[in-house]
Symmetry: C2
Subunit: 332 residues, 2 copies
Amino acid sequence: MSAVPAVRVALLGAGTVGAAVARRLTDRADLLEQRVGAPLELTGIAVRDVSRPRDLAGVPQGLLTDDPESLVDQADVVVEVMGGIQPARGLIERALAAGADVVTANKQLLAQHGVELQDLADRAGRSLEYEAAVVAAVPVMRTVNQALAGDKILSISGIVNGSTNYILDMVARLGVPFQEAVQQAGDLGYLEADPAEDLDGLDAAAKIVLLARVAWGEDVGLEDVQREGITGLTDADFENARGTGQVIKLIASAWCSGPPSARRVEVAVRPTPVAADHPFGLTREGTNMVIIEAESAGSLRLSGAGAGGDETASAVLGDVVNVARSRVAARD
Amino acid sequence: MSAVPAVRVALLGAGTVGAAVARRLTDRADLLEQRVGAPLELTGIAVRDVSRPRDLAGVPQGLLTDDPESLVDQADVVVEVMGGIQPARGLIERALAAGADVVTANKQLLAQHGVELQDLADRAGRSLEYEAAVVAAVPVMRTVNQALAGDKILSISGIVNGSTNYILDMVARLGVPFQEAVQQAGDLGYLEADPAEDLDGLDAAAKIVLLARVAWGEDVGLEDVQREGITGLTDADFENARGTGQVIKLIASAWCSGPPSARRVEVAVRPTPVAADHPFGLTREGTNMVIIEAESAGSLRLSGAGAGGDETASAVLGDVVNVARSRVAARD
């Protein structure tokens, strides 16, 4: 038992990511306490239906609740992994207003309302963290926001959607016909419930918007993205690429154009032929890779799994430990 | 002009890295002020000889001083890029005792005395940051310390010395005889003043020690490193590797072994044959690459230039902005 008061963590959502977060908060309790300097106490898990069976091995069933408001009101740190716009947005606003820090993996909510939510967090003097919203545990958000905080970022480009990369890789490397590869990815459960999220580049668009905002401090929105998904591709496109030693990848990119006085941030998601031996060309299956170009740092490459319950939970818990550390430090 | 009081930054050292830091603090003043929420004021640059000509375009010559103590005593953030053990160590201790945060790129000082310095910083409630000490702007330290703070790190391995990688790459890809490649690297100025730092793996050893300490919170020292440099390699070794589709790389690695009750952190630096198409095998010239394996995040890869004045300055300034942000936030 620790004499130090716990940091109370409320979890909103117990899907794949939420369940992984709950399990890790439980089975890594000692490690997390050591890193934070105080225990992390999981005070509850808000779900729509408390009676539904869930993969929560080791997590006390009694933590489940269908009253997220009460949970939020008692928390130091609120972890939102329920997804969707409402009630997630309202609960995050409520949490920040009540003085909690918020960690979320909700990329669509952030892409649509992140500017207002960040503003709310800033005015409340609280943190709104979302490393998990952008390629899971690959620390891209932290690199743009913190590691390169003293540098001038020139461009960001990346393979940020694993499902489409899996499809494109099957076509390029294994010669699977394009439509069959799309079908297979769906059968394997690699596509979102709404496949357009992946195939039409909506998921990639949300991620690059979040990165561009932090990189250049501009209010970039989803409507600014020059977006083209992979559904219009044909087997002939892949053959043409192959003939010139290239492979087609879905590349999300953001860059700054124009003179300093009329600077404009541009954001795009497009199928793009790249050399087969380029780092993007070598990015296989569901792997994600982001390349950040900065004036002093040069070219930085980060890669890893960009999705998955455990991988996303890793990023969520990283943010939780960091905001909890700050809370504990501020107690003194 | 800003109405917000400045964060006073003292710079110790004006070598390649120090000069780059000074120039960027000057020419990026507006950008840095925006990111910090207050101006960063460079209050002085401590050097041994103020009359020596330096590449400090745009930086007022009057900032140079040979009185580092007075500079440190008046600073909010002290940036130590002078290198060596003393007087760097004493000045960092003085800075922390006086309530300043410290940013350093001094890997040998940290490898030898980092545990005591970190302890001093913790007791003073101040930050000691050193992203720049480990592969320059590639954000490896931040990934281990922050991004993976909620995860269990299993192993870290990497090409963390650009000079030896340049030599090994020349031999493997261009067929340059080994001794000639070493000679060329020296002629091009790619080797440290004491070439043993690079060739005997001392530089790599310091970096992997710093990473291992943060990853597992154990007091790992330079004396724990199972270290073998590249000087014992012969052309026959390279030919043997080539015959099996491999290339030799100098790999620094750290991992946890033994049961939880008798856990031991192991650290090594060794020339290691790797498959030519492995991410390490594909790492060319002076590029560095680190692979971190974590229980939930899986395998994360980070790569970029691991040295250079501008690249190291990027990491230093990232740390400066982050500690300055915290100071400004704490004012409220």
